[in-house]
């Protein structure tokens, strides 16, 4: 055993330097050179240079004039991007049903005339608690409410939503989706 101790120690040191220092430093250097925006969190900025959040990190919205995103299970407040978390509620847990019930009620209270069934992603918490997207169905469900609150024509708003709807990547990967923060930023920019 002792004869293996010395090589073991030296190999651990060598690989700590190679894979723990050289490799991450190389990736960091190349990443900052080739993709500086993505490597630093894909932050967006307004025309006057102020930061407006990350295109990949959702934000909480509760006002009737904004599109709402996925419910978030992060604590102590939703969309806490410093502590990602899902709800981990099981499908037979009564707490899950209670939470969904409350979310359906909140959506209906904000838009009493809307009798449509609620798209499921709008009332279930995302995996990360930071999901930046909702389904196109969830955007369509909220369209009338936002249009009313903003005194916009539904037609015009539908166009704006369509502009912010991403299809499947390369036409095949993943699911179609709407980036909620970017859509809401565009809404604010209309005025």
């Amino acid at each position: 055993m002792l004869k293996h101790f010395r090589p073991a120690l030296i190999f651990l040191l060598i690989f700590t330097v190679l894979t723990g220092v050289v490799y991450p430093a190389l990736v960091t250097g190349l990443a900052q050179l080739l993709f500086p925006n993505q490597a630093n969190g894909s932050l967006m900025a307004s025309a006057n240079g102020n930061s407006t959040g990350s295109r990949f990190i959702g934000q909480p919205f509760t006002g009737p004039g904004y599109f709402w995103g996925r419910p978030s299970a992060t604590g102590p407040f939703p969309y806490n991007a410093g502590a990602s978390s899902g709800s981990n509620l099981g499908q037979t847990n009564p707490a899950l049903l209670d939470a969904v019930k409350a979310r359906v009620a909140a959506l209906q209270a904000a838009d009493p005339d809307n009798k449509a069934a609620v798209p499921v992603d709008l009332v279930t918490a995302s995996g990360s608690g930071l999901d930046p997207h909702i389904s196109p169905a969830a955007a369509a469900y909220q369209l009338k409410r936002v249009a009313q609150a903003r005194h916009l024509s539904a037609e015009k708003l539908r166009e704006l939503v369509a502009e912010h709807t991403e299809p499947r990547q390369w036409g095949m990967f993943g699911e179609p989706r709407v980036n909620v923060l970017m859509l809401n930023l565009a809404l604010d920019a209309l005025h």
């Binding site: 293996h4 010395r6 090589p7 120690l9 030296i10 190999f11 651990l12 060598i14 690989f15 190679l18 894979t19 723990g20 490799y23 991450p24 990736v27 990443a31 993505q38 490597a39 894909s42 932050l43 407006t52 959040g53 934000q59 909480p60 919205f61 509760t62 102590p76 969309y79 991007a81 502590a83 990602s84 899902g86 981990n88 509620l89 099981g90 499908q91 037979t92 049903l97 359906v104 609620v118 798209p119 499921v120 992603d121 279930t124 995302s126 995996g127 990360s128 608690g129 999901d131 389904s135 196109p136 169905a137 390369w170 095949m172 990967f173 699911e175 179609p176 989706r177 930023l185 604010d188």
Partner: protein
Amino acid sequence: MTSNSFFQVGLYVVTLLVLAKPLGWYMARVYEGEPVGLSRILAPLEGLIYRLAGVDLKHEMRWTDYAIAMLVFNLLGFLALFALQCLQAGLPLNPQNLPAVSPDSSFNTAVSFATNTNWQAYSGEVTMSYLTQMLGLTVQNFVSAAAGMATLVALIRGFTRRKADIIGNFWVDMTRSTLYILMPLSLVLALVLVGQGVVQTLKPYQSVPLLEAVSYEQAKLGADGVALQDANGKPVMEAVQTTQQVIAMGPAASQVAIKQLGTNGGGFFNVNSAHPLENPTPLSNFLEMLAILLIPAALCHTFGVMVGDTRQGWAILAAMTLVLVALILVEVPAEQSGNPALSALGVDQSANKAQSGGNTEGKETRFGITNSAVWAVVTTAASNGSVNAMHDSFTPIGGLVPMWLMQLGEVIFGGVGSGLYGMIMFAIVAVFVSGLMIGRTPEYLGKKIEAFEMKMAAITILIPPLMVLGGSAVAVMVDVGKAAVFNPGAHGFSEILYAFSSAGNNNGSAFGGLSANTPFYNVMLGIAMLFSRYWLAVPVLAIAGSLAAKKVIPFGPGTLPTHTPLFVMLLIGTVLMVGALTFIPALALGPVVEQLHLLGVGPAKG
């Protein structure tokens, strides 16, 4: 399943199988010491490493030396990672000033990463400094994978050598795995992932303004920093408003790449690959998922090339692929079917052009049902354990499939190296069983399988179930075990069973509701991980040594061919039979009962 579902699944499986051949061939050349394209750059570095360590490239080891070298190397790696976590508060590259990790959590995490399990009882972004992530976790991501690959290569040499007492040099096999295979692939994958939006920076966490301020309640702290309590002993809450969002950052891409390629699975952030900055787009998701099974699939071909009969490798790959695809076809519809109780609340769970529908609790919109369900199968078929959706919130059947895949012993692809050596153990059992049936001495690849090999193979197959069922049994009998459960009823038992299935097979995924960061679970699961890694690797090396010493028997009329569809079925049958007989009673108490409750049978709903 929608037609797009079938398309995405098909594209994934075909891409994986297409890539297996060239990579498998490349790895065989690397392990046989033949020159490859990268040799021009890496050979001088490789030579320098051996000189520094005083290792002779040509000096091969007996199986006992090989095993001891691996164990000593792993022990030192464990100690280094343990120390790094305990000391991180005083070390550099800790921009968020994170405190030292507790000793029991450090023990659990150090074991977890050294054994290629990457079970995580901690939340990455609130626990680990950048230094710990890079110098500790990333390093073990590489070397634990390399140690698994080295063990496999030693076993393969056991089949190819005749009347030999040496099976290779552990240091050489490990160095080549890291330098020629894991590092180049990781570098390329990491950069592509950054291009898609995975962060890679040493800057501290970034603060950005919220478009709409958010109000919430938090416990009020006294002047001494301790939460205040009212007369009834309840915490005093205060209303707070925040207009800022702090976004966790870090050198994530470099770790995410190797976490997938090395079947490690430890997330940089708490929610692993569900985190938008760890897996931002459907393309990054496809590539990460491909990386999970890439090396385990390709190693099957490496095996075929090295034993001089590529059909042997394809037969094993076929067995793995058939089980994988069959379980994907169970998993996706299970998650797509959603939760009947939600439909009653006026929720639309149907799949259509505008939404993926199904059970979206704990899933990300960009991945939808298909990519979350396929990932769950892939990550537990391999001993990867990274997640892109919260398995705890899956439907009962959707949770049963990943749990059972782990319980099969992580041999359906499994870990890099460890998956294939585990599958070869089952192949040995399969030829032994068929040998009994036809009354011939069992042989595999020209080597006689005798009592010693069977005993060792039996150990490797029996240790994980012992850890899983024994550990779960202890946990449900003690209060500290039960107190950690989050969801009520049968699902709570599933959380415990899942945790021990994961640790006891070196997978690392979790039903995350279980509060596993307690001294009880940190120690119990740590022990399960240690046994399941080394009580498998050492017997495998013992078989390698024993086989290498035997002569090769020529293929005769009485030999069972091990490359035919018949053998593929026999191998699948052996794996499924052992997995089913061992675990059906436990699964019946967890996910099966829960599925009946979900469908409204029995005294559920509260």
